[in-house]
Amino acid sequence: MNGLFDDYNPGAYYCELTGKSGSPLDHTRTIQDWLNKIRPMTLRRRARDCERELYNLGITFTVYSEANAIDRVLPFDVIPRPIAAEEWKRLERGLVQRVTAINHFLHDIYGAGKILADGVVPEDLVKGNSNFRAEMIGVDIPHNTYVNICGVDLVRDKDGQFCVLEDNARTPSGVSYVIENRHLMQRAFPDLIAGIGIRPVSDYGIRLRDALADMAPAQVLDPQIVLMSPGAYNSAYFEHVFLAREMGVPLVEGRDMVIDNGLVYMKTTAGPRRVDVIYRRIDDDFIDPLAFNSNSMLGVPGIMDVYRRGRVTLVNAVGTGVADDKAVYAYMPRIIKYYLDEDAIIPNVETHICREKDALQFTLDHMADLVVKPVGESGGYGVVVGPRSSAAELENCRNLLLARPENFISQPMIDLSVCPTLVDAGIEPRHVDLRPFLVTGKNTWVMPGGLTRVALKKDSLIVNSSQGGGTKDTWVLA
């Protein structure tokens, strides 16, 4: 019988299952042997069952058009992405280090401003950043934890080295898929899972709830925690439902809450009830029409004022967006060094900060090989990918760079690692990334796993769900 992997060839890329050599890594041998024994038809049938189950369980995101709501399933690939125990330990340390430094940084820039005074990070980069919220200056945050929920996007390069591509310190999403993917695999592949020690991910809700309770305002012993969603029409609504359910807390919207006498209340069947901690899945801009975007219908008028007085806690804190900005990202190794006196355990992708003279020159000299990214943006807008750009596009980019170098960073193209993925023709390599999640209250906990996103299109490096990306179950091995 032919094995599924007979024709599998990851080429020059690092493969999550077969490494660089083409033969299984020690920790993936059991998985590959098992996959090699299963009949392709059986694998396909189970994959189809998974897809149907996702729909039936409503693990979907909703696309709304004028007259209809169409529920779509985020494509799921059944071949898992394993991570060795030792490797995970190192990643875990690196992730905790990173979020610790980010919280120090936020506390500093909204407080004493030492890192700016010492010239480690340019002041205008921070205070001139569109995500810097002057409203947060001098506000006390419990445990100085600004970023309670953090998702860090990691990629593995050609040599198998993990590095950080991006920090997500605002409202990172995707954790519900991590847990649901695992449940799905447990139902569809009990025979595979039985032989392998995989660290569980299902206590995320409990950890999150504990961290949120840590964040209660002073003197509140039994805090009323709520999860605040923009509503059922938000594309991440499933995740909001999921998390509210896991934590056993009400899933509220702005319209369910009012401010009275300096406190936040939610409207219940028994009248108003005080709210103490709000895990809000809504951007800073929309949280309070009196403080920020005055057109916002999603927020609660006056909530910023209550928050600033410490009588309700918003999670994540307002103003954390400045820490995951691309410009600040570039300084992260220096930020870690500054606060913790340690070298970054997980390196950044090599980044050239164009406001620095040598970096600008390097970028201009190697533009055709580099990715040039504007800072202060998110979602990949305005990014120029050198190797895939025309001469005219490069020329245009050069002019922008020369006019406002401080608006740009540049990075080399990264050859993302691949993972075997079930496609029409059998099993083929597809590029993947990894988003682990960290939860911080008094302390930081790293969920053993993370969202593995996979670019389902051949050769594509874009793993975003909006552009043909799917997900895989991530197995951190015990």
């Binding site: 529920d71 369910d256 069947t269 028994a270």
Partner: protein, 332 residues
Amino acid sequence: MHSLLARFAENGFWMAQYMERVENLARILDVNESFARDSAGEPAWLPIIQLYADDEHFFTHYREATAENVVQFYVINRTNPNSIVSSVWAARENARSLRHLISIEVWSQLNVFYKFVSGLRPRDLRLGELSHLCQELKEGCQLHTGIVEGTTFRDQGWTFYQLGKMIARADQTTRLLDMKYHRLLPNVADVGSPIDVSQWNALLRSVAGYHGYRRVRPSGMTPETVAEFILMNPEFPRSVVSCVRQIRHYHDRLNQDPNLAGVAFAPSGLDDLDNMLSVPIQQVTREGLHEYLDRIQINLQSLASAIAWSYFGGEADASAEGGSVSSTQSQG
């Protein structure tokens, strides 16, 4: 959980109402199909349109109240807010808001059921298929009811769900009786004829009451005794009196809930319903059944409004979730 968001109470209330309506509509269409077959060529489909006061809406879409048109209008027409597809959609939208409170099984079944209903095409509604289809629709609703019963946490949300369900069921029962009673009665010549009996028979079957009726009245069948059974038999689960007893039970539950201290809805409306339901059936028919049923419907409606005022923070208007789908049925 100690407190329930007002919006969720409302969502539960409406989710139950929509699903109850779907079940009743499926029952009505099913039994009507039998009527149409029995009564030689009689255009039996118009009364359904009148039952829901949909004349105007229907005739802007269709020229004639043929079986085909009426069935399409009530099963798959999305412009009709009373259609099965619209109601299941609205139930599901309410469920969507409640997803973190309801069980995954409830959501999953509703999801699959909606997928089934929204996939129905005209060819699935052919008269020969109708009985089978109605059976499937009914079973979809019963599956929902069963899963809710077996998996729902018995908190306030459950109470509001049950209140919505019982109010809708009582309302539907009065409407069904009203429609059939008037369609069946006028033909004095037919009273006691085989056609007449088979029609009362079908009416009882449509509410799953035939066997119960037979246990109470082993022989004979008159319009009055059928009406009495459907309205006032306390053992029959779809009778108005059964629903009102359930409503009182859940009303008391709310009033006794320590988390709801200080909030209550007045039981005077329930007392009125009890009084009406203890009037002898002979007196009811003498004074006019139609007016009587109307008064019951109005009472149920004000009960729903009282619940909305006390617990939802305003008028019950079905806008909870489900957007423009309005409750034309309960306003009729």
